[in-house]
Amino acid sequence: MAEDLINSFMTGPDEGGRFGKFGGRFVSETLMPLILDLEAEYEKAKTDDSFWAEMDDLWKHYVGRPSPLYYAERLTERLGGAKIYLKRDELNHTGAHKINNVLGQIILARRMGKTRIIAETGAGQHGVATATVCAKFGLKCIVYMGAHDVERQAPNVFRMRLLGAEVVPVTSGRGTLKDAMNDALRDWVTNVRDTFYCIGTVAGPHPYPAMVRDFQSIIGKEVRWQLAAQEGEGRLPDTVIAAIGGGSNAMGLFFPFLDDKSVRIIGVEAGGKGVDDKFEHCASLTGGRPGVLHGNRTYLLQDGDGQILEGFSISAGLDYPGIGPEHSWLHETGRAEYVSITDKEALAAFQLSCETEGIIPALEPSHALAHVQKIAPELPADHIIVMNMCGRGDKDIFTVAKHLGFDMSDTEGREME
């Protein structure tokens, strides 16, 4: 399907939850009625002004939206090409874009009379956001987290517990994010009557990919008017760029620009140690092939027999062997480009952001920034790049310290080489 044969990229998914051949509802029968219920409730909420009024109010007063669109002047000068703007979603309450979506799903859960919220989390950002909103509304919250991640993301585990959530370390499978998602689905299938599954990314069975995208689209919508306010009426970005694990911050930034053909759209996957046949990466699009997992058809890291492989990335938030189905479709239609960035390149970009802008970024958007670093110097000064700074780096300082050879346990501190 060539890009020029499609009238609009913003009408999907179809009734079956498909974006082209991707997406769908590949779940067990026990869950199917719940998913249909959720879809019906979401369709109602979508056109209900009172739903969006509640969202807007909380986005403004609880999350702190709109997040600034910030002209990164020193970064622009350093790279010596395109003009770089950062969408500052790391300034949201809880430190990442995740809460944009969680608010929407929890308000929906309340409308559906659900009292028990479950979620999966990798790095812990979605878990913290879910625990936060559940605390705010007095809802019971259970977060499934791979046992391996529980160990390496101890601060976020403690945050969730402070917020009153129960964190369940997942030891099934290999104890990673995908296994956490399996266990969340197992919980849901067992507690169907009172439980709402709050998925953290644009994946899962329909309607999740579309619903999460819609909630995250506030990012791109704000960019549209903010850029026009700063650069003149009607000025669109020339390039929008974001990091991708499951792909929710990227879908949120991209979606409002899909039908603006002049806007170049770039998604950056986690290349880990390099995208080759050893699968030491999480680049589902650049290094995987289509398959069915967690309720949807999408690009997956898998072996020749259809068994799912573990990804690898320095960033726990990108450590997932799949990607949202809409990204798979945008990839196949050619509307968006997808590239990969290695751990090493992301670490260098992490430091660049700290040094030039005084912003300690999360490792996830550091991947996007590393690609900005590659393309900006080749572009003219009137080319505007908007990059989503989707999370802040507090959670990552331990990982980064380790990679930079800085001993955090040494109270005297030690100069970095």
Binding site: F26, V292, G306
Partner: protein, 263 residues
């Protein structure tokens, strides 16, 4: 008529309920699993469900998850699973084999190729957990066209409004999942299951078999009494996981089968 249809008509003539057993192909290794499977008919098993291992079995409890992991670690693949069925068929041309698993390994091979291979291996039906009726075009309809039964799960959440949709393209039998939950979890209660089976039977002529949460000969009998048969999986797989010999596993299977056949 498939082997599944034949089996049910024979059971009906004899006034007996069906006993269905589940084992994971290749658990703990190919040879041991094959030995168990070959012994199932003599232990009284009417229909064999053969598990196709998958890394991410979202509807299964720990017992079957671990069985899948053991099988995969021992090198099990979709091809070897089909080989195992074909090997069994050499000595038994009447006991139906239903392949049970998840869609991705099948999708990965390609649906057409898979159906041809499965048919050639002597597979009679498919239960694919993550393919609800909404996705019938994927595998269900092509499978029926290829002469394989596509057995659907009905669950406590399948309400009357939805039931016709679930039954529409089902063939062979209907698998009623007795609990909302994963395999090997809570106990199925005959008192709860009976009315549900009656509700489904009012809407279809197909036999209704009940599974999930059946672990003992007594429960196998009690559940079979209120349905057309009972399925046991996790309780058998647990014995295999504990390293019991094929002979001991088959003795346990026989006690379960006898329970169902007493009903």
């Amino acid at each position: 008529m498939t082997r599944i249809d034949d089996t049910f008509s024979r059971l009906k003539d004899n006034g007996k309920k069906a006993f269905v057993s589940y084992v994971m192909a290749g658990d703990p290794d190919y040879d041991t699993a094959l030995e168990v499977v070959k012994g199932l008919p003599a232990a009284g098993v009417d229909i064999i469900e053969l598990g196709l291992p998958f890394t991410d079995p979202m509807a299964d409890g720990p017992t079957i998850q671990l069985a899948g992991q053991r099988a995969l670690e021992a090198g099990m693949t979709l091809q070897k699973t089909l080989d195992m069925a074909a090997e069994f068929r050499k000595g038994d041309d009447t006991t139906p084999i239903v392949l049970m698993g998840y869609y991705n390994p099948i999708y990965s091979r390609g649906v057409e190729q898979f159906l041809a291979d499965a048919k050639a291996a002597g597979i009679d039906g498919l239960i694919v957990v993550d393919l609800p009726p909404e996705e019938d075009d994927e595998l269900c309809i092509p499978a029926q066209a290829a002469g394989l039964n596509f057995i659907r799960l009905a669950t406590p959440t399948t309400d009357d409004k939805r039931l016709p949709k679930v039954l529409q393209n089902t063939s062979g039998f209907v698998y009623y999942v007795s609990i909302t939950g994963i395999t090997g979890a809570a106990n199925a209660e005959a008192g709860d299951v009976g009315p549900e089976v009656a509700r489904i039977k009012a809407a279809t002529d197909l036999p209704v078999i009940v599974g999930f949460g059946i672990k003992t000969p007594e429960r196998s009998e009690a559940i079979a009494r209120v349905a057309d048969g009972a399925v046991v999986g996790s309780a058998i797989v647990e014995k295999i996981g504990a390293g019991e010999s094929p002979a001991d596993v088959l003795a346990f299977v026989k006690s379960l089968a006898d329970g169902a056949h007493r009903a």
